[in-house]
Amino acid sequence: MGEGSELIDKIRAKARELLQGGRVDCFIGYEEGSRGRARPAFIYDPQDAERLIWDERCAHNLVVYLHQFKSPLRRGEEPPRVGILVKPCDSRSLNILFREEQIERERVYVVGVTCDGVRTNGRPQERCRRCAERVPLVYDIVMGGVPNVLGRDDYADVAKLEQMSPRERLAFWAKEFDRCIRCYACRQACPACYCFECVAEQLDPAWMGIAIDLPQKQFFHAMRAYHLAGRCSGCSACEEACPMGIPLSLLNRKVAREVEALFGYKAGQDAETPPPLATFKKEEQLPM
C-alpha cells in the first residue's frame, strides 16, 4: 500500500471508467467515514468516484455486499452489474460465491489490490500476520506494488485449543459464547452466510427459539461454524463485527484446518474445485 495516492488515483480512474462506459451500475469500494474510520462505499455516479480511498484501514470484506445486487433493482430489469475492490483475502470469498453460483462471474468486474495487511483501530489484524496470500486470486485487473511482507501461519492458536481436554474446551467456549447477544453481526458480515432464512430465525419449525440464553448462543455458533466448514475464507469479518470480542476466527480456523486435513481442500482457492462438503463420492460411504 506504499504507493498511496497514486494507487488511489488508479482505483478512482478505473471506477470512473467502468461507470461511464456502462460496464457496471455500481462500484463498491471504500470511502473516508466519520471519526477517522474507513467504510464501505457504493458509487453509482462516475463523479462520486472521487470519494474512493484505499489504505490500511480498509479492512471490510466487501464481497458480502454482492448479495444485495443479485436481484434486479427494478422489476423486469436484469440484475445490476457491479465493480468491486478486493483484497487477496476477499478474493477467496469471491471464488466461493462464484463456485456456489451466487453471482455470475461476468456480472462482477473485480479490481484486485495487492495487500501488505490491514489494521483495526491502528492495530494490525492477527490474520494479516498469518497471511501468505498478498495478491488476489481472482481479478479482472490487479493494482498495487509487489507486496513487501509475507506472513506465516503456524496455527499456534488452534494447537492451544486442541491441547485442551473436551471439558476444558467446552468451558472455554461456554465462557466466550456467554457474552454473545445474538445480534447476528457475525452472520451478516459473512459473505458465505446468505440463506434467505437462517435456521436461527426460522419460526416454522422453530429450531432455536427466541431466548437469548447460553444454549441458543452455543447452538447458533456451533451451527454456523459447521455450515462454514470448507466455505470459510478466513477473512475474519465475523470477528471484526462482533461487539463482544468473541474469538470466532479461532473456531472457523479449527474447522478449516480439519477440512484441509481430511480433504486437502482450502476454501476459495479457485472457482472450479467442488467443495468437499457439497459433493459426495461413493468411496466416502461409511461402512454400514
Partner: protein, 355 residues
C-alpha cells in the same frame, strides 16, 4: 456540599451487597458490563461507558413471563417471582435517562408489570462522567455528563488539585466524591454512608460540541428521500445497534414446551404428558431483522434494509417522541462505537438537518 471517600463508599457498597442485589460495572473479558457483584472489589470504577447499557436488568434479553403446567388436577398458571430489592451502582447519566425514556412506554397505563416491578425495586446510584467520551453526544439530547435528575443518588468524583500521588493505587481509597441525594429512595439507601460536609462548588464536567436534532414534526417530509436507501447500502442489517442501545426496547413473546426432567430424545418423558409444561418467554427483538415486520401471508412492509434502517431513526426521533414524549436516544454513542460499518447517528442527524 456533602462528600465521601472511595474507602467509605466501598464499605457502604459491601454493606448493601450483604442484604440486596448489587449491580455495578464489572470488567468481563475486556468488556465493562453491569453485572451483579458479590462485593465492591469486583466493581470497575474507572470506565468511560459500559459496553452494554443497563436495560438488560429491567428488560432482560430473555424473561419468563408465565409458566403453564398441565397436570391431572387441571391447568396451573404461575408467574415467576421477580428479584428482591436491588441497587444499581455506577449508572452513567445517559443510562439513567434511558430508563426515563423506557418509563414513558413501559409505565404508561396499562403499565408493563414486569418492568414496573423491577424499576420499583431498584435504587439508582449514579456516577457522573468527568468528560464526554469520544462518541458521546448526550448534550445534543438535552442531557449533561453530570446530569443528576434521573437517579436517586448522584456521585461526582472531585478534582483533586495537583496530587499525582493521589492517582496511584495507594491513593484510590482517598478519592473523594460529591454526594447529591435526589429522592427519598436515595435518602433511604444512603443509611450508613459516611458523609462529610465541605464548602466549595460541585465539580463540573467538560462538555463537547452539540449536534442539532431535527424536531419530530420535521421528519415525515424526509421519509421518501433516496438518502435512506443510500445510507443503508453499507448497513449489514444486523441487530447490533438495537441490542447495544439503551432505549431500543422491542421484544417478541412466544410459548415453548419445556422438556420434562429425564425426557429422552424421542420425546418420551417420565409420566407427564408431552406439552405438560409450557413457558411463555419474552426476548429482545429488533426492527433491523428481516422477519420483524413480516406479517401473515408473508407480506413485509419493511422489506429492504433501507426501510428498516430508516425506521430505526424515525422510531427514535419522530415516532417515539410523538407517541410517548421523549426522544428515544440519549447520546450514549454505543451504536456509533460498535457499528461494524460506521453508520453514525451523529452524522445522520447532521445530514437530515440539511436534507
Amino acid at each position: 456540599m456533602q462528600v465521601t471517600t472511595r474507602e467509605h463508599l466501598t464499605a457502604w457498597l459491601d454493606g448493601l451487597a450483604g442484604h440486596m442485589t448489587l449491580i455495578a460495572p464489572k470488567t468481563v473479558e475486556q468488556r465493562v458490563l453491569y453485572r451483579p457483584v458479590a462485593d465492591s472489589s469486583e466493581i470497575a470504577f474507572d470506565f468511560a461507558r459500559t459496553d452494554l447499557p443497563v436495560k438488560e436488568h429491567f428488560l432482560p434479553p430473555t424473561d419468563v413471563l408465565l409458566s403453564i403446567e398441565k397436570g391431572k388436577e387441571g391447568v396451573r398458571l404461575e408467574e415467576p417471582s421477580l428479584e428482591g430489592e436491588r441497587t444499581v451502582f455506577g449508572l452513567r447519566p445517559c443510562d439513567a435517562r434511558a430508563l426515563r425514556v423506557l418509563d414513558a412506554l413501559f409505565l404508561k397505563e396499562p403499565a408493563d408489570p414486569y418492568y414496573a416491578e423491577r424499576r420499583e425495586k431498584t435504587t439508582l446510584v449514579g456516577l457522573a462522567c468527568r468528560e464526554m467520551g469520544e462518541q458521546c453526544f448526550c448534550t445534543s439530547l438535552g442531557l449533561a455528563p453530570d446530569e443528576a435528575g434521573d437517579v436517586d443518588v448522584m456521585l461526582t468524583e472531585m478534582e483533586e488539585g495537583g496530587g499525582e500521588g493521589e492517582k496511584g493505587r495507594g491513593g484510590e481509597g482517598r478519592r473523594r466524591y460529591a454526594v447529591q441525594v435526589m429522592t427519598e429512595k436515595g435518602e433511604a439507601i444512603l443509611g450508613a454512608l459516611n458523609l462529610d460536609k465541605v464548602e466549595g462548588a460541585m465539580p463540573v464536567a467538560a462538555v463537547g460540541s452539540k449536534t442539532p436534532v431535527l424536531e419530530a414534526g420535521e421528519w415525515p417530509r424526509l421519509f421518501e428521500r433516496a438518502y435512506w436507501a443510500r445510507l443503508a447500502d453499507r448497513c449489514l442489517s444486523c441487530r447490533l445497534c438495537t441490542y447495544v442501545c439503551p432505549t431500543c426496547r422491542c421484544f417478541d413473546v412466544r410459548d415453548y414446551e419445556v422438556p420434562c426432567e429425564g425426557a429422552s430424545s424421542g420425546g418420551a418423558s417420565n409420566g407427564s404428558a408431552p406439552g405438560g409444561h409450557i413457558e411463555r418467554l419474552r426476548a429482545w427483538d429488533s426492527c433491523m431483522a428481516e422477519g420483524y415486520r413480516r406479517i401473515a401471508g408473508g407480506h413485509n412492509p419493511r422489506l429492504t434494509k433501507g426501510d428498516r434502517l430508516r425506521n430505526r431513526f424515525y422510531c427514535k426521533f419522530c415516532y417515539y417522541p410523538q407517541d410517548y414524549g421523549p426522544i428515544a436516544c440519549v447520546g450514549c454513542g454505543r451504536c456509533i462505537a460498535m457499528c461494524p460499518v460506521n453508520v453514525d447517528v451523529v452524522e445522520v442527524l447532521a445530514d437530515v438537518a440539511t436534507l
